[in-house]
């Protein structure tokens, strides 16, 4: 995962728009001060722009190009243009089709659960009670744990013989001690196990973003609803949910973008197992095997899907602003 999802909430597209608005103290490009600012501005920003072009933009363009070649590291065969070959082979590969289904399944299920549970946690922390600050600190812990570590912690908890989860289930008589379930080894539950870890790790992010959205709702709205005798449940659907929508939308999109490119969790828990293979795991396996040309095709597909989601997101935000 390149950018931690948690690191992103500071990033919002409306901020981009406002950051580009002139503050009105610019003397214009032709004045002496304006020209001086113009030169200095470029001088200061050029190093960052060059680095970003070199390590992100250029590689991205090159990935598109590579996906139409048979580039293979360590091969004596000359690299040549192969047209759409990689893409037709990709969609002919049942493992890739399976990895797409896994990715979509994982994204939809995990984001749905995280949104609902994140909302519950946010509503709880939003209400006033003793020790609220401590609870807020406690829920930050899963957020700070690196993804690889979360995968290891849960792998141990999911262990069929010595894992704490099966032990609890056996104690509750929900599972027989002689036939403990191997959650990660059984293909029918493996993806669910991955979802469980992702949910644990990501609820804090959801909850904190939604909490921020809840905090901007003025309390007199609720006061008025209470006076009118509206139930808490009714208040949630008619007041809270519509007013928290912008924050919910931001959280949803960031989570979707992030879930779609899931790699770390699946790789550490399941390696290249077909039962849980995501598009990103498929891509990394091809690249790791030096098949750069063919491996660039699924990379392009991830990029296009994520780009499409991000595009919808910026559209939605613009609509919100009007």
């Amino acid at each position: 995962m390149a950018l931690q999802p948690e690191a992103q909430p500071l990033v919002t597209s409306q901020a981009a728009v406002s950051a580009t608005k002139s503050k009105g103290r610019w003397a214009g490009p032709d004045s002496a001060i304006g020209r001086q600012q113009e030169r200095l501005g470029w001088m200061l920003v050029v190093p960052s722009v060059l680095i970003v072009l070199l390590v992100a933009v250029y590689p991205l363009i090159r990935t598109f190009y590579l996906s139409f070649t048979n580039e293979r590291l360590g091969s004596v065969r000359p690299t040549r243009w192969v047209g759409w070959d990689n893409y037709t082979r990709l969609f002919d590969d049942s493992l890739f089709r399976h990895s797409m289904i896994n990715t979509i399944e994982f994204t939809v299920i995990s984001v749905a659960i995280e949104t609902v549970l994140g909302m519950v946690v946010a509503l709880v922390i939003h209400s006033e009670f003793k020790g609220r600050g401590m609870v807020r600190t406690a829920i930050l812990v899963p957020w700070a744990v690196p993804t690889v570590v979360s995968a290891l912690l849960w792998q141990w908890m999911f262990n069929d013989f010595f894992g704490v989860i099966n032990s609890i289930l056996i104690r509750l008589h929900l599972m027989s001690a002689s036939h403990p379930k191997s959650w990660t080894a059984d293909p029918s539950t493996a993806l669910g196990a991955v979802v469980a870890v992702d949910v644990w790790k990501t609820i804090p992010f959801m909850a904190l973003l939604l909490l921020a959205g809840l905090q901007v709702i003025p309390s007199d709205v609720y006061e008025a609803a209470r006076v009118d005798g509206a139930s808490k449940w009714y208040q949630f659907w008619t007041i809270t949910l519509p007013l928290v929508r912008p924050a919910l939308l931001v959280a949803l999109i960031f989570r979707t973008l992030d879930a779609f490119r899931i790699f770390d969790l699946i790789y550490v828990m399941m390696k290249y197992s077909p039962a849980t293979m995501s598009i990103a795991v498929y891509t990394q396996q091809q690249i790791g095997n030096q098949r750069i040309g063919f491996g660039s095709a699924p990379a392009v597909i991830i990029f296009l899907c994520v780009g499409f989601l991000a595009f919808i997101y910026t559209r939605l935000i613009k609509v919100e602003e009007v």
Partner: protein
């Protein structure tokens, strides 16, 4: 008292709304009814569940890492530590490969963050406080780079790293990590500088200071809290990074990061699964991040808040 204040002998109730208000005040007084007690208990139960759910996996890692192997593989599982040993920690911390990986991660994350903060601050100052043509395009470029998936460029970065003969080096990781940490720091710090009042460096410039001097002497000292938080978030991202480290270094080798090392942590024999050692290593890798996050947690939460409200 609510009741006397609203007493009709003192004031005449004028509207239905006000009547309802008075009624609700009376309703509130019956605090100890059966329903409200159950509601309170359910609420605290929910809080307990949330706290236990959040903390249990890490608690469990700590307990397991401190449990002697003889007890670790005993069923049924005990939820409280039965015996206590530092063995796993001393074993992990004497493991040359793990220590090496810990050092590598420290170097890579620190250098990445310092570079990103340096270039990021300078760039963000220009984007946030100076006016020049092309600024909007650059801002959108940076923003889109904060969102795009790392795995999308892994193939071309692999060639890039190979061609520069940087495969399996820390430099390869530092360079590739900049692809996500630099856009992030530029973006966050631009918004940060943007939010500072205009008068700050105007006053300095009236006194004859150049814009760079104004940045150095006035804005930068004020930006320290923002720089620390941004740096910490970038550090967490670099420290936790896995995909590039796995692909651009040799997993069992001397130049890999701690995330790759613990993911490939295995016992001396192929069939031994050293769970207690894994947990000890996991705790060691996580503690620095937890300490950092807890130290600046207020600011992380308010940072999240600032971002979300704008959205």
């Amino acid at each position: 008292m609510a009741a006397t204040e609203a007493s009709p002998t003192q004031r005449i109730v004028t509207s239905r709304d006000e009547l309802n208000q008075i009624a609700s005040r009376y309703r509130k007084k019956s605090k100890h009814s059966f329903g409200s007690v159950t509601r309170k208990m359910l609420f605290w139960l929910l809080i307990a569940i949330i706290v236990i759910y959040s903390l249990f996996p890490f608690y469990w890692a700590i307990v397991s890492s401190l449990t002697p192997d003889s007890l670790l593989y005993k069923t049924p599982v005990k939820f409280w530590p039965q015996a206590f040993t530092w063995d796993h920690y001393s074993q992990v911390l004497r493991d040359g490969g793990f220590l090496r990986a810990l050092l590598n991660s420290t170097i890579v994350s620190t250098v990445t963050v310092l570079l990103a903060l340096f270039f990021g601050t300078v760039g963000a100052y220009a984007l946030g406080r100076l006016h020049f043509r092309g600024r909007t395009i650059i801002l959108y470029l940076i923003l889109s780079m904060t969102m795009f998936p790392a795995v999308a460029i892994i193939g071309s970065l692999f060639i890039f790293v190979r061609q520069l003969h940087l495969y399996n080096t820390l430099i390869a990781l530092i360079i590739t990590y900049l692809s996500f940490s630099l856009p992030f720091t530029v973006w966050v710090l631009t918004n940060f500088f943007k939010a500072m009042p205009d008068e700050l460096e105007q006053a300095a410039m009236v006194d004859g200071a150049t814009p760079l001097r104004a940045l150095w002497q006035i804005l930068l000292p004020m930006a320290v809290p923002g720089l620390v938080t941004t740096g910490l978030l970038a550090f967490i991202a670099a420290w936790s990074e896995f995909l590039y480290a796995l692909t651009f270094t040799i997993p069992g080798g001397n130049n890999t990061t701690v995330q790759v090392a613990i993911a490939n942590f295995s016992g001396r024999t192929q069939f031994e699964q050293p769970f207690a050692l894994k947990m000890a290593a996991a705790v060691v890798v996580t503690i620095p991040l937890l300490v950092g996050v807890l130290l600046v947690q207020r600011r992380i939460v308010s940072g999240l808040t600032a971002g979300a409200i704008k959205g």
